[in-house]
Assembly symmetry: C2
Homo-oligomer: 202 residues x 2
């Protein structure tokens, strides 16, 4: 009956790793840090993970499955615009932390460089899943865009702008570049739909 505590500890370690990797980066976070944050003795860590890289892998995988669960809940709501709005609110609420610590996926992706291929692939999966979710929103509003609009490219651009914006924001210690990037993206979409409507009106 006490046996069920084991996975719970593992989970605590993964969560602690997620927090610390995000706030201080992978390299600057020691196993001792993680163990301390999770309130687990250092030696015990190796019962759950063979190496530090394995923790990284587990953490990125956790993020991916969390996102998938979140997305599943999203998809239940019928309205695409509503979904997109709730998503935008989510990131806007995080603006400050984004400006300070960047994107938890993007930062890791650049920090790990060549390191562990398994981790890199899961990071890529995270990006792919995110783009797919946004693409779904655009797709459902497809009739508002000109015929032949590449919604995949548009969804990718959305992630691109946010990642690029967050990177500059963090480097400048100023949220401005992020906000202005998002604003420009909004205008781009306005221009697209506007151009379409004008053509329809003609």
């Amino acid at each position: 009956m006490v046996a069920k505590q084991a996975p719970e500890k593992r989970r605590r370690l993964v969560d602690a790793a997620a927090t610390l990797f995000y706030e201080q980066g992978f390299n600057r976070t020691t196993l001792a840090d993680i163990a301390g944050e999770a309130d687990v003795p250092l030696g015990n860590v190796y019962y759950y993970f063979k190496t530090k890289d394995a923790i990284g892998e587990a953490m990125v995988e956790q993020r991916l499955s969390d996102f998938r669960a979140l997305r599943a809940r999203w998809e239940e709501r019928g309205d695409a615009r509503d979904r997109l709005r709730s998503f935008v609110r989510m990131t806007v609420d995080n603006r400050r932390q984004l400006a300070r610590s960047g994107c938890p996926i993007g930062s890791l992706a650049l920090e790990l460089h060549e390191a562990d291929p398994a981790v890199r692939e899961r990071l890529a999966e995270n990006f792919t899943a995110w783009v797919a979710a946004v693409r779904g929103c655009y797709e459902e509003a497809e009739e508002r865009f000109p015929a032949g609009t590449d919604v995949q490219a548009l969804a990718e651009l959305t992630l691109t702008v946010m990642e690029g914006g967050v990177m500059q924001a963090r480097t400048h210690r100023d949220i401005g570049p992020f906000d202005r990037g998002v604003e420009q993206l909004r205008r781009h979409i306005d221009l697209l739909t506007q151009a379409h409507e004008e053509r329809n009106a003609a």
Copy 2:
């Protein structure tokens, strides 16, 4: 007369650091690596730099002054479109390496996290200088944009799209996201100028 070799060695170290930090990242590059690449004995490194961070600082500063020199040469050419084109060609020629190793400034910016404030500020200066150069190009073509167009925001967006695109390209090991991002940016600018011209024609 042999005394003038000293600064030359220092320069070799900085160049070696630039290459290695770019290809393997800051943390994974050891001082021994740098000394080896520069063909300088390890112990000698400390004659030129007090710490590893100091090398990072010198390297980022070097990049900044190199860019400023390049920009000065650019500005000599009168035509803004010509300048922008030569710049675009420069990055397009680097597409493959960008997809593999990312942006040398952006990667460092995310890797160093909180680490050294001095380095972070110089990285920010690099971004600022780059945006200013691009902004100059847009500014000279200002009459092609609708009145009140925020060229600063447009220049920032250009960097944003490239950084975001390169980040995804590197993570996916596929240049596609970068190329598509740049293409979307081009369309955005097309839409802007087009909208302007249509209004002028009316």
